[in-house]
């Protein structure tokens, strides 16, 4: 899987960082960035949680 944050939607609420700290981080421009673009399947539950917690629906998973 590949994880993408749409920066036209992201507001830096940071829920994704709480849900999956190794995969997302908030940077100085107040937006969330994917630091682990192709996380292993073992982290699927965390990524799914991040997707479901994002209040702005800014995170997408693209299946391989």
């Amino acid at each position: 899987m590949r994880v993408v944050v749409d920066h036209s939607l992201c507001e830096g609420n940071g829920r994704c960082v709480e849900a999956a700290p190794g995969i997302f981080e908030l940077r100085d421009d107040d937006l969330s960035y994917v630091i682990e673009e192709q996380p292993p399947q073992s982290l699927r539950a965390k990524v799914d949680l991040a997707v479901s917690l994002c209040p702005r629906q800014a995170i997408r998973i693209i299946e391989d």
Binding site: S8, L9, E11, G12, N13, G14, L26, D30, L49, S52, L53, P55, R56, Q57
Partner: protein, 413 residues
């Protein structure tokens, strides 16, 4: 009490909210037997009542198919109310993509976790002052003395509104959100109250706009007065409405979460003791307070095409109503949903909504509540109810107007 039935339950009459608070038993029946229920009563325009967490998320995530409309919530039809399709304000809550995001973009960077974090010192200072003012008092109205003061002061300072004008903002917010409550409407009709309060608000905001266009500062008033949407200044009605939205939303809901939160602790003393023993639980406790109180009762949507939802045929033009407090007691999401549990984790409540219209002020509300309850748990030596709570007559916002308490607040250390 007679058994509840789908055909006779009442979930939108504002008198019910005054007398009994939230209709949790009714919502539980709906979730169990008719989670997508066509609600028809003689004095109510018919609508689909959506009561399960998953369905509310699903509808919220399709803002194209289920659009936000002028009529923000459903209530019983009362004489002298404005027509439901008349916009009292034109603001984010009744805008849709792509216009909504363009307007939201004018101020949303001022509400990110990072921006809000910079307000911490100010919020700490105001909270300290608020509690200092009731040291030595045996009794007070917790709402006017504590819950209302902090969020109002914070949003007013963000706007650069001088302290002398805060009572005006408080009165006008109450009148705009509770025009059907006799305490706020006085002898006026609902329409008269709304229109007069709106005019007073607009006159006041217009003064702010004129000043900040000449002398911009680093405040929300300046950001709005000089803000651009698609390269153009905001049209005047939308600009005035934006001020009103942020002032009202910035003080009504957090006020009610604070009051409802303390009420929950008074009713669950074991949870209060737990928080006293471990103040590091405050962030989790605040999420639980927000879930438990769910200050916004409902928002409507309108279907833009024939569609299907959970096996029901929804027709173009049908109104749907999303009941957030019901979603936040959904048995399929929360273990023991009717227990107030400050250690609940994860806490996937949707009291702030979800999707396009997710509460712009959620980070601010969280911070205010965290600071307030951190101070309360440190300084409140005892507290109990000194009389019944008085609820606002509204099926839109679950307001507690007054909560008399006997309490002892420790002086500052």
């Amino acid at each position: 009490m007679a058994a509840l039935t789908l055909d006779t339950i009442d979930i939108v009459n504002p008198d019910l909210y005054v007398q009994r608070g939230y209709p949790h038993a009714e919502w539980a029946l709906l979730r169990r037997e008719a989670p997508i229920h066509y609600y028809q009563r003689p004095d109510v325009d018919p609508f689909w009542a959506i009561t399960r967490h998953a369905d509310i998320v699903n509808v919220s995530r399709q803002p194209g198919l289920f659009r936000s409309i002028q009529q923000l919530f459903i209530t019983v039809n009362e004489p002298d109310s404005p027509p439901p399709d008349e916009a009292i304000l034109r603001q984010l809550l009744n805008m849709n993509p792509p216009e909504h995001a363009a307007f939201r973009g004018v101020v949303n960077r001022r509400f990110t976790p990072r921006s809000v974090q910079q307000l911490t010192a100010g919020i700490e200072r105001i909270t300290t002052e608020v509690l200092d003012a009731i040291v030595g008092h045996d009794e007070c109205d917790f709402v006017t003395a504590v819950s209302a003061t902090l969020p109002l002061a914070v949003i007013a300072e963000m706007f650069g509104i001088p302290r002398a004008d805060w009572p005006l903002m408080f009165r006008l917010s109450n009148e705009m959100i509770g025009p059907t409550d006799p305490e706020y409407a006085g002898s006026e009709t609902v329409t008269e109250t709304l229109e007069r309060a709106r005019m007073e608000f607009f006159q006041y905001f217009n003064g702010l706009v004129e000043d900040r266009r000449k002398n911009p500062r680093d405040d929300l008033s300046s950001a709005l007065a000089n803000g651009l949407v698609n390269g153009e200044p905001l049209p005047i009605f939308e600009l005035m409405s934006y001020f009103a939205l942020l002032i009202i939303a910035g003080n009504e809901t957090t006020r009610n979460a604070t009051t409802g939160g303390l009420h929950a602790f008074i009713s669950n003393p074991d949870q209060w003791e737990k928080l006293k023993r471990d103040p590091a639980l405050v962030p989790k406790a605040v999420e639980e307070i927000v879930r438990w109180t769910s200050p916004v009762i409902q928002f409507t949507r309108k279907a833009t095409a024939d569609t299907e939802l959970g096996g029901h045929k929804i027709r173009e033009g049908d109104i749907l109503t999303l009941f957030y407090p019901s979603a936040n007691r959904d048995e399929s999401i929360f273990a023991a949903p009717n227990q107030f549990d400050i250690t609940r984790h994860p806490n996937q409540h949707i009291a702030f909504g979800i999707g396009e219209h997710f509460c712009l002020g959620a980070n601010l509300a969280r911070l205010e509540l965290q600071v307030m309850f951190r101070h309360l748990v440190e300084r409140l030596e005892s507290v109990e109810l000194a009389g019944p709570v008085q609820r606002m007559r509204s099926s839109f916002v679950g307001g507690i107007k007054h909560m008399p308490v006997r309490l002892r607040v420790r002086p500052r250390q």
